[in-house]
Symmetry: C2
Subunit: 191 residues, 2 copies
Amino acid sequence: MALNKYDEIARAAIHLFNRKGYHATSVQDIADEVKLQKGSLYHYITSKEELLLQIVSRSINGFSHELEGIVNLPESATERLKKAIHHHFGIVAGDVEMTTVLLRDAFLLSQDQHKIIVVAMDRYLDHWVRILQEGMKSGEFREGDPRLAALSILGACNWVYRWYNPNGAKSAKEIADYFCELHLRGIVVGE
Amino acid sequence: MALNKYDEIARAAIHLFNRKGYHATSVQDIADEVKLQKGSLYHYITSKEELLLQIVSRSINGFSHELEGIVNLPESATERLKKAIHHHFGIVAGDVEMTTVLLRDAFLLSQDQHKIIVVAMDRYLDHWVRILQEGMKSGEFREGDPRLAALSILGACNWVYRWYNPNGAKSAKEIADYFCELHLRGIVVGE
């Protein structure tokens, strides 16, 4: 499927931010990458910063949207946590470049714009916390601090963008399975 | 104890990189912060990038140096892993600003300089992997992939710099204790 022009521009920017860094990437570079005159590019974007904000907003909302569905499934907390880990890995492994921009570059936004992303990231964390809370409340998970437990799992899963290699010996699915094993043993009663 | 001038400059830079960001911090800003003329500052540093390289090199070498001692202790892998987690938390919580520069800003270095830091970070990871390997080999830890298990624990511990709040309800020691519990249950046989 052909990307629409805006998506093509966003994809080019993601690629350039990964390769050259956000600061070293000029609007001209992005225009060159999508074969537009700089003036024409401005029909689609207002500024490089606005484009970064759009990219990271879409990215974190993509992470959250599906997780929200998982949290609300009529399944055990254990099952939902496994699905959450696989969901997160699926996005990271499926689009390391976009995840890198989200997790590495979002702080380069102005304070006000960064705040928007921090709030959206907190909302994503909240979904994880809810699974942990429900599992602890029902006795399925050991008692503990649901927020810290969520931060431990999510931290491990977030860090993946720094080391994941699509050509590595293990697939994203295999790594996610192993992470489920490690983290669920840490919290599930009787595991 | 008074810092020597170079340490004072490094500390000022760490503070400014945290507050304003690396790119938005000028050499003039650093000079102002330590009350030197820009010309005099250049007696101590060659460039902002060289200063960033020095800061992150020192930081990652600080992480590694003590961990190397822990890895070589004549203790069980479980004990050494607990000590490693506490060691890592101690540095992060003791100096969130420096850890932020290390884990957030190192990639802003030029490719060659960043490579130096990536190699040093890999060496730090290797120490963690060695504890995992030894525990798995002796049967103290469940069989698994020592590198992935190390990346899971280290990822969770690294992510701490993004959310740790020195004024939060739990101390760094309490959080580290809980992380030990979560991660050791995940790998230790019979836990």
